[in-house]
């Protein structure tokens, strides 16, 4: 038993990676209506965004309600750096570099002045930052084109060749894998342990020689850089920056839900959370709402109830007007799923291992 366990742990990630890499081929075997490639690409982008958020909110314990703002900064930095209507016209990779740098700078810019702000006060500062960024992007329309969006943007390329759908998928997979490995390495590194110790007890970690301000700034910058990367990858895939409204509060909320549903502070959990939340959005919810709002079922049942005269007619009209429309159920199902997941599994699907199971060198947390 004890001999088998470590081997399985080593094998699982490789098997998972291989399965994900095979998705485009699996798609070819599946019936026409179902394509996993697209929802999975979306999962990867949200996973990168959420991995970034996990550094700040999961590891360091700083609640960020404005992570979409960093994605917006990344998206627009990428768009302005590459689009043919601007003078820069960088290639895909140099532009990604610019994007990540812009994100990190934005992270510092927000993190530095707000180091004193704590807890839920910090949460609203980040929320406000998100709203300000969105408004600035809309209002400075001479630069950002306002709600028009910037297009066309170059697709992801590799060694100078623009990638087609499959190539893009694998590139995204590669980005997620690198981010995942990188964030895990960070978690176990000196700075990662500093983040976690700040989350657990800032005063004690200061006493142990950690400089919370430095560590927090670094967390902000890492979070922002990853979020910016996610934003850039998204717009590059869509070939359009979309409008600033695409990076609003709701996106931040989705990213937050991903890391909490996955298991706050857990890197593997974040991936699972992204699959669950985005999968729920783009597959389960669509199918489920079609089922719930099936046009025939309630109508037929209510026809019989028509005998009840006024009440029956009232209900029937109501049902016909609203309830039979499947899309009218999406908010409800989404919300219900969130509440149920939290009530039945408040710690998330794959919570991080408790600290005492971590490698013994995590000395700061002891005592």
């Amino acid at each position: 038993m004890s001999a088998a366990a470590p081997r399985r742990i080593r094998l699982t990630p490789w098997a998972g990676l291989a399965a994900l890499a095979a998705v485009p081929f699996i798609d070819a075997l599946l019936p026409g209506g179902l394509r996993l490639e697209d929802p999975m690409s979306e999962v990867f982008i949200y996973a990168i965004l959420a991995l970034g958020l996990n550094v700040l909110t999961g590891f360091t314990g700083l609640l960020n309600l404005g992570v979409a703002a960093f994605a917006a900064i990344g998206a627009y930095a990428f768009a302005i750096a590459t689009c043919e209507i601007y003078p820069f016209q960088l290639g895909f990779w140099p532009a990604l570099g610019v994007t990540v740098a812009a994100g990190a700078i934005a992270g510092f810019a927000l993190g530095a002045p707000t180091l004193r702000v704590r807890g839920d006060y910090l949460a609203i500062v980040t929320l406000g930052f998100g709203e300000i960024v969105k408004d600035v992007l809309v209002n400075l329309d001479t630069i950002t084109k306002g709600t028009q969006g910037i297009n066309p943007l170059p697709p992801p390329s590799f060694l100078g060749t623009p990638l087609e759908a499959r190539g893009q998928y694998w590139l995204l997979l590669a980005f997620v894998t690198v981010t995942f490995v990188g964030v895990r390495a960070l978690e176990r590194s000196r700075v990662g342990r500093a983040w976690i110790s700040i989350r657990e007890d800032e005063l004690a970690s200061r006493a142990m020689g950690i400089r919370p301000d430095h560590a927090k700034m670094l967390a902000f910058a890492t979070c922002a850089a990853l979020a910016a990367l996610a934003g850039a990858l998204m717009v590059s895939r869509l070939s359009s920056s979309g409008e600033p409204g695409n990076y609003d509060f709701q996106v931040s909320i989705l990213a937050l839900c991903i890391i909490i549903v996955g298991g706050i502070g857990s890197v593997r959990g974040t991936l699972v959370g992204a699959i669950v939340m985005v999968g729920m959005n783009s597959i389960v919810l669509v199918k489920l709402s079609e089922l719930v709002g099936s046009p025939d079922a309630p109508g037929a049942a209510l026809d019989e109830a028509q005998g009840l005269a006024k009440v029956g007619v009232f209900l029937r009209t109501w049902a016909q007007n609203v309830l039979v429309n499947p899309t009218n159920w999406k908010f409800l199902l989404f919300g219900l799923a969130l509440v149920l997941m939290m009530v039945f599994r408040p710690q998330g699907i794959l919570p991080p291992r408790p600290l005492h199971e971590a490698p013994p060198e995590g000395g700061e947390e002891g005592a």
């Binding site: 909110t57 609640l63 002045p113 707000t114 004193r116 702000v117 704590r118 807890g119 839920d120 006060y121 949460a123 609203i124 500062v125 929320l127 406000g128 930052f129 709203e131 300000i132 408004d135 600035v136 809309v138 209002n139 007890d201 800032e202 005063l203 909320i253 937050l256 839900c257 909490i260 549903v261 706050i264 009232f314 009209t317 109501w318 007007n321 609203v322 309830l323 009218n328 159920w329 999406k330 908010f331 409800l332 989404f334 919300g335 219900l336 799923a337 969130l338 509440v339 149920l340 997941m341 939290m342 009530v343 408040p346 710690q347 998330g348």
Partner: protein
């Protein structure tokens, strides 16, 4: 034939527009810059008081369970639908005089009860099972609750009633009848204080007084403060913590109910999406004043209302949100626990 009549009517409408519509301002006279300022102040304070009323309910709950309650605004939204249904079913917009006043008071109380009961139930179903879990799980549960409430509002707006436009488009905003006519109650120069402005004042100030009294001087208030400070110690002293939390949710929700009726009469619009802005404003106001601090929430609400009005006037409407959030961030940078909030205790 019919078309000819219609065409004649249209010409008449056009003529009316020319004769009647255009000189409207000539009679009014241009506003002097002081009058503009005064009018904006009145608008800002009225809006601010409504925000404050939502925010105190918000901040009360926060003070006890430390929950950023994303569902609070949407709770108010459902309250508005409840009020609109009542108004429509009873034909209240036709009531005048004393009947109207009694009706208005009953509407306020009924909506407050509805919102209070709803908030209590949400706590029971979505938050109470998570009492031992992390704050963030609670937050996600609140987000989920908010989505559910939004969807219920969407369903509600599709009810085949006249006030909901016969239910033909559930997503469209609904008109809330002007139970208090938007007519001037007082003129201060050219600055108009309208009757809805007065209504806001008449509802908000007594409620704030009553709440202060409740928290300061009643047994329940004492228990609430004790639970907020230290739930374990409160439980050890024989306080039924869950009951106190339930009561707080009820009271916080019912304040939202009062606020939403005033809001609906003031703005004359109800929409299933209005909860987002209501909740957001309340959240900002509560944080600005210092979370959990009742006078702080009032101060925060008034400040937001006035800043919004002034920014609309003297900057540009499109920058107003950014200005509000910019001021919020600045204040928090210099006063990290809000205007009136107690300094966060560093652990010792």
């Amino acid at each position: 034939m019919q078309r000819a009549v219609a065409a004649a009517e249209q010409l008449a409408i056009l003529a009316l527009a020319r004769a009647d519509g255009l000189p409207a301002f000539a009679a009014d006279g241009a506003l002097s810059s002081w009058e503009v300022f005064g009018q904006q102040l009145v608008t800002g304070l009225s809006n601010g008081m409504i925000i404050a009323l939502i925010a105190i309910g918000y901040t009360m709950v926060y003070g006890i369970v430390e929950l950023i309650n994303f569902a609070h605004g949407d709770l108010c939204m459902l309250g508005a639908f409840f009020a609109l249904t009542a108004v429509g079913a009873l034909g209240m917009s036709e009531w005048g005089g004393a009947g109207g006043a009694v009706g208005l008071v009953s509407l306020l109380v009924a909506t407050a009860f509805f919102c209070g009961a709803l908030n209590w139930s949400i706590n029971r179903l979505a938050y109470r099972p998570l009492r031992k879990a992390s704050k963030l799980s609670l937050l996600v549960s609140a987000i989920g609750a908010s989505f559910i409430l939004v969807n219920l509002g969407l369903f509600w707006g599709g009810m085949p009633m006249d006030v909901f436009a016969g239910g033909n488009s559930s997503a469209a905003p609904k008109a809330f009848p002007a139970l208090v006519e938007p007519e001037p109650a007082a003129h201060l120069g050219d600055v108009i204080v309208s009757r809805p402005d007065v209504l806001v004042l008449l509802v908000t100030v007594p409620l704030m007084g009553a709440l202060t009294w409740l928290v300061r001087f009643t047994k329940l208030g004492k228990a609430m403060r004790a639970v907020a400070q230290n739930p374990t110690a409160a439980a050890l002293m024989g306080i039924d913590v869950e009951r106190v939390i339930g009561a707080t949710f009820f009271i916080g929700g019912s304040l939202g109910g009062f606020a939403t009726v005033v809001y609906s009469i003031y703005n004359q619009t109800v929409s299933f999406q209005m909860g987002y802005r209501m909740g957001m404003d309340a959240f900002i106001a509560a944080v600005l004043g210092g979370i959990g601090n009742l006078p702080g929430a009032v101060l925060g609400g008034l400040l937001i209302g006035v800043v919004r009005a002034m920014s609309d006037q003297y900057i540009e409407t499109r920058w107003t949100n950014a200005v509000v959030f910019g001021i919020l961030i600045l204040i928090l940078v210099f006063r990290p626990s809000g205007l009136l909030g107690a300094k966060l205790r560093e652990k010792v």
